[in-house]
Amino acid sequence: DGIGASLLTQQHPFYIEINNAMEAEADARGVPLEVSIATQDLSKQLADVEDFIVKGVDVLVISPVDSQGALPAIMKAKAAGIEVITVDVPAEGVDVTSYIGTDNYAGGVRAAELMGEQLGGEGKVAIIDYPTVQSVVARIDGFKKGLEEFPGIEIVAQQTGITRAEALAAAQNMLQANPDISGIFGFGDDAALAAAVAVKSAGLSEQVQVIGFDGMEEARNAVDSDPVMVGVIQQFPDQMGKMAVDTAIAIMNGEEVPAEQPIVPGVYTGK
């Protein structure tokens, strides 16, 4: 009994905050909570959920490693009579009791708007992406869609930089190939922070502006103190985690819960 949570990773501050918020809330409300980390491996997530089923949890909170790929895990849980809440990443092809998450596409559009403003509608832009994660793909799609409003802005390069080290190398090399870049959009804080380092080490601080996504503490501090980091799309993992536990408790108490609980991302551009 209690809540079982399957989170997609533990090596990202965003998920650590979700995790911490969930544990704090569960503690505060006196509900048992167990957390498994899928380490971005779908079959581990499936195994984690199967183990939750054997343990007999009442509600499964899951942040899918993959929207479609989580289908069997969620269906298994539902078949075992467990209610499912998805957090951060939606599930496709199966109905869940509730979805709590950031609208990544909208966040991408807002990043584009910020970029357009900062560059005054003119310039060359590079993107650091992570093509195998859907929430990131949605951000990039939203960003590209948003930039369509600014015909003077051209996307000249897009490279993958999954870890911070990879993002640093990708940003360095893109700047080397296109020294006239004036903006970089990083799919997450890691990518943006790495891009800012690359900009500085290439001596292009005056010319290039970097926008990130996630808005964890480190990135917000960077926006405050580092002129290269002009802004970051801010998600609210603490709200997500708390809301997930509250929703789960509501379900256990037999209350009705909304099917979607979107959390609109903010734009952080400094204190």
Partner: protein
């Protein structure tokens, strides 16, 4: 029936020999089971053992293939990528509407071809298999993403899904597949001339050559076996997940190697059995499952898993040394 593997003394007492050979790892496995069932009363249930077997199936089957490769003194680091490619091939063929059987055949064929490439590079160009398969690990991983640009591909073919979801005679089909493949691999290794040739080649390449064994041919065939086993793993994985993931199977090669080595397969070649590998895979499965059941935090799981591998291999090595 007497056993033919080389590490076993042959004699009247087959059971005693078995016990002696596998004492170290069986001890580890039993110890883990006892610890977990004492700390969690749901661990010791049929449902949970079905769970463990299902979870371990992908690793176990890949490890059967890996056992052949290691036995030959080679290594195959590309199986994680082959698992992903196989799932993707299946999903794409199903997507074309060709149906289950062609999808199955082409998936297995893709595994065989990737293995053929590994084997040919190793045998004919005389490159070390470690570096060949590090390279093909990257190449095949690149291949997976070509059809979808990195996105996963759904595969909801009912027969395909049934493999991972349905049961037969009360046991999940996946478990039947694991047991069937275990039997085939065990018999092929322990009781056929092909298996014997693998032991000879792995034990002393030059001696095998002088005995008239086509050593290059053996290498190529065995990398193909490894490729096909990985493809079967890929089928099971994508069946369980209803989809082919582009990052499927990542770093599974290390689990497969760990399973084989835990089971007493020597990385130097020439020594190893399928029975050992199956037990090794079960140790890894029980460990993952048991720690999940105990809600051990992820980082501690990493530490405990590493320590258990160390202890189990050490027990195995020591129990074999004692017997001289």
């Amino acid at each position: 029936m007497t056993d033919t593997t080389s590490t076993q003394p042959q004699g009247h007492s087959y059971v005693r020999a078995m016990i002696r050979q596998y004492a170290g790892i069986v001890l580890s496995l039993v110890a883990l089971c006892v610890i977990f069932s004492l700390t969690n009363d749901r661990f010791l249930s049929l449902a949970n053992f079905t769970n463990i077997f299902q979870q371990v199936a992908v690793i176990a089957i890949a490890a059967f293939g890996m056992t052949w490769v290691i036995l030959l003194g080679e290594i195959d680091l590309s199986i994680g990528s082959i698992i992903a490619v196989a799932g993707m091939v299946g999903a794409q063929v199903i997507g074309l509407g060709w149906g289950f059987v062609p999808a199955l055949v082409l998936t297995l064929a893709s595994g065989a071809i990737m293995g053929l490439f590994n084997g040919t590079m190793t045998a004919k160009l005389m490159l070390p298999s470690f570096i060949v398969t590090v390279a093909t690990m990257s190449i095949y991983r690149g291949f997976v993403s070509l059809p979808t640009g990195g996105a996963p591909a759904m595969n909801m073919d009912p027969t395909w899904i049934a493999i991972g979801a349905n049961s037969f005679l009360g046991l999940p089909i996946i478990i039947w597949i694991v047991l069937a493949l275990f039997l085939v691999n065990h018999v092929a290794l322990a009781h056929t001339t092909f298996g014997r040739k693998a032991y000879l080649t792995g034990g002393n390449r030059e001696a095998a050559l002088y005995s008239g064994i086509n050593v290059d041919g053996m290498k190529i065939k065995i990398f193909m076996i490894s490729g096909v086993m990985a493809a079967v793993s890929g089928i099971l994985l994508s069946s369980r997940l209803y989809s082919a993931q582009t990052n499927a199977g990542m770093s599974y090669e290390l689990d497969a190697i760990a399973a084989a080595v835990l089971g007493g397969t020597s990385l130097a070649g020439g020594v190893g059995t399928m029975v050992g590998t199956l037990i090794g895979a079960l140790i890894i499965g029980v460990l993952n499952n048991g720690m999940n059941m105990l809600s051990v935090p992820y980082f501690y799981q990493l530490i405990v898993k590493g320590l258990v591998i160390l202890v189990a291999v050490w027990l195995d090595v020591r129990s074999k040394q004692r017997q001289g």
